[in-house]
């Protein structure tokens, strides 16, 4: 009857699943996430661009901003970017202690950035220039606050990874995670360039 030869499983489908390198597509996936985050910031920048001149007879940028504080914050973020870079280089050299040390320094700069930003926000609110004062200030707090929240989550992520590297060492999973956080951290620095240029510097001209 059934003299028809049975098809071997391998004829029509693959018996063995593909062995993708673990994490091979992580970087592109994470990059796409960062690009979507970038679009969210673009919308917040657009909101600030549209509402940034609506002071509602309240204080404007020249009454509120302290450029020296912003320069200090920019320096913290830039330094944290390069120390994260050194952490990645230490990771490539399989130097666990060095990686942890540079990550720790990065964390310190990240926290300093947050401390200055929180000081600035509470100073503004103390002056009566809180987010509810004018459309300009709503847009300002939304944009700068969102960036600050990103930095805060980055710091949390950094602490988590430091604990994981300390416990498990620089295994492939941790290296992948560190590479993702690296992209995230440098990306936040890129967004900050937009913030200090369009919000602070152009506001003070």
């Amino acid at each position: 009857m059934s003299t028809v030869t049975q098809a071997a499983p391998g004829d029509f489908w693959e018996v063995e699943p593909h062995h993708h390198h673990e994490g091979a597509s992580t970087s592109i996936g994470f990059w796409v996430y960062l690009m979507s985050d970038c679009l969210m910031f673009a919308v917040l920048f657009a909101v600030f661009g549209v509402l940034g001149g609506s002071y509602a007879a309240g204080p404007g940028p020249k009454d509120l901003f302290d450029l020296e504080l912003v320069a200090l914050n920019t320096a913290f973020l830039l330094l944290s970017s390069i120390t994260y870079g050194f952490a990645m280089l230490a990771m490539v050299r399989e130097n666990t202690r060095g990686t942890l040390m540079w990550l720790g320094i990065t964390l310190v700069f990240g926290l300093l950035f947050l401390a200055v930003e929180i000081y600035e926000f509470q100073h503004l609110i103390h002056l009566g220039a809180g987010p509810q004062r004018s459309a300009f200030l709503s847009a300002f707090f939304a944009l700068v606050g969102t960036h600050g929240l990103h930095v805060a989550f980055g710091c949390l992520w950094l602490v988590t990874l430091m604990i994981q590297v300390r416990q498990r060492g620089l295994n492939p999973a941790n290296r992948r995670r560190l590479a993702c956080l690296s992209m995230f951290w440098h990306f936040l620095d890129v967004i900050w360039i937009g913030v200090f240029t369009f919000v602070y510097l152009l506001g003070m001209i």
Partner: protein
């Protein structure tokens, strides 16, 4: 350490230090001390100049000041992309670059479109104009 081992080690460090592409276990370009320092120094310069200009009160023309400040920001973003985020056309077979270009296109549409539309709304639809249109103006 034998000289061959030493050479191998040197070679390995060099490869790690140069880190361009194809032999990485995780497919990333992690840069080198030199590329990070180059990016950092360029960023410091590109940050210090606009801050100095604005803190000193800017140029005579506000437009020129704004143009210089924005120009520096654009260059610095490119510096960050190349030296810190290691963007190039090769990483992930060009897909990261495609995603970036797509994002930039959407970003320009969102920003330019919002500013344009809202600027026109503000100039053309102020309350007194409605009054004028209705013949209620003084």
């Amino acid at each position: 350490m034998t000289s061959i081992e030493a050479q191998g080690d040197k070679h390995r460090t060099e490869r790690h230090a140069e880190a361009h592409g194809d032999h990485h276990d995780d497919g990333h370009d992690h840069g080198s001390v030199r590329s990070y320092l180059t990016g950092f120094i360029l960023s410091v310069i590109l940050t210090a100049i606009p801050f100095a200009i604005v803190m000193a009160g800017g140029f005579e023309s506000r437009f020129l000041t704004a143009a210089v400040v924005v120009g520096m920001a654009i260059v610095q973003i490119l510096v960050h992309m190349v030296y810190f985020l290691h963007m190039n056309t090769r990483s992930d077979e060009g897909w990261t670059m495609m995603a970036l270009i797509f994002t930039v296109v959407i970003l320009v549409i969102v920003l330019a479109g919002s500013l344009w539309v809202m600027f026109n709304m503000n100039t053309n639809m102020m309350p007194q104009m409605i009054h004028e249109a209705l013949g209620l103006g003084s």
